[in-house]
Amino acid sequence: MSIFAMDWYLIALLMFIGFYCMLASRSIVRQLIGLEIVSKAAMLTVISAGALTANLVMAQALLITMIVIEVVVVAAGLALLVKAFRVNGNADIWKLDGLKG
């Protein structure tokens, strides 16, 4: 099995773990952790693509930018989680049902 196939096998596994983590847990913090795993798997694809096409310099440049963006998005998301916890008094995703119709 080539290294490339190995990479993508691992990426698919990681992505599955992330989505499973999101599906199986009720706490919004764990959901965020699941999302983080999914997005880390997505980032690994960029490095793998760069290695395959002998274009690692570009892949690294893309990846560093992506990490910076990721930090900002996660910071905003964590702020939302804290706000939600303060307002609702719990971190249960199934209790977020104030809006429906």
Binding site: I69, V73, L80, N88, G98
Partner: protein, 477 residues
Amino acid sequence: MDKGLLAYLLIPLLSAVIIPFAARNRPRLADILANVTLLAGLVNIAWMVLRPSVVADGFADIPGDMLFPLLLVGAIYLVALCVTFFSAWFMEEGQPNRAAYYSLILASVSAMTGVVTTTDFFTLYVFIEVLAVTSFALITTDDSRGGIEGALKYFFLTFPASALIIAGISILLIVLGDLQFETLRIFMASDVPPGPAVFAAALIMLGFLIKAGVVPFHAWTPDAYQGAYAPVSAHLAGIVTKISGVYAIVKLGTLLRFFDGRASALSEMVMFLGLLSIAVGALAALRQKDFKRMLAFSSISQVGYIVLAAGLGTPLAVIGAVFHLFNHATFKTVLFLNSASVEKSAGTTDMEKLGGLEHSMPWTSWTSVIALLSTAGVPPLSGFWSKLLIILALWEAGLRGYAGLALLFSIVTLAYFMVMQRKIFFGRKSQAAESAPEVSAPLLAPAVLMSAVIVALGLLFPYFYTYVKMVAERIIL
């Protein structure tokens, strides 16, 4: 990145940085700075595109690929100006933090301009993420329970969408070697089997379908629109989700050359999802009890028309899609701003408690009528022409079933808007409506301006058609 349009991105960003410092002790200065920035941008664009000498020689001195971004930048500035002008009078003293609010609006305008002017997938991804972060913060502006819940749902659905877009981008990197839009277009026009590139584009497309709130992924849309701070709903529904999701779908559709059938499976899939969201959005809107939530479902349904046309991808359909994108920005902004006026005046947006507002709020009532008739596609107004183009394009391509259903759900649109209008504005006065005065003139001005745009676009359609046709031709060829 198109350098000619960079100023439209940088100037709002500069204002967004200056506002928190300049307006620390004088909150009113934030209103003025934000409005002046956006107004200056809008006047500049109007001068560039609409001055008589440019129109006379057929936009010849505007470079080929700048017309479509210019149209969209114009729409972005127009909606954002209406929203900031409205919020300047809508906000109560001290609540919420004005400087932060206007900074975020201007940052989102700047990110949207980045999205529409970029020429490669990675920059597109960067600006989409910036836009998403500003949207989370804007939705929770007033710290209400609904706002936080809507923002959380938005967050949990857009984050996986970004992961899908990244995965798509890296597969595209393997197939094409770089991420320029032009490379993909040339690749699709060549004879190489397009399989892997189409797969990569499908992943990216899926991410953008989630961000646009097209039907199987629409769970976040109504909650975010309903929960958000009232003027922010207009900003989100009018322009933000259209740029962050729908624009990219239209762009990808033209890059993949849907019209010559090399990516026909993806094209059919996108068209099916478009029709599905037209149907589900319209049927769900029929049974809503809340004004803003009904508008949100209506927005899903209208996005369906754009996605349907983008999936078809023939020149006529792309003209329709671009035009409907612009029209959607105008009529949905009017409706959401009017819902904010109703909320401010009557204190609720629950349709069961409202009624007979026509007598006390005539301006709000009649601008709503114009906007909803345009949404439903009633002849003299702008919405009619864009829907007509989309349905004609479907008929021409031999998809009679799609054309018929699109027409049918256009009538359903009219039905639920008539129900809404009767419950809120016509009929007998309810208790909440007794003590609901008309809002002040500055709050009405944006809605009246947008209604004027709707009527003008509808009546002057033959002139506008040449412009939109040129835009569509230049982005397809």
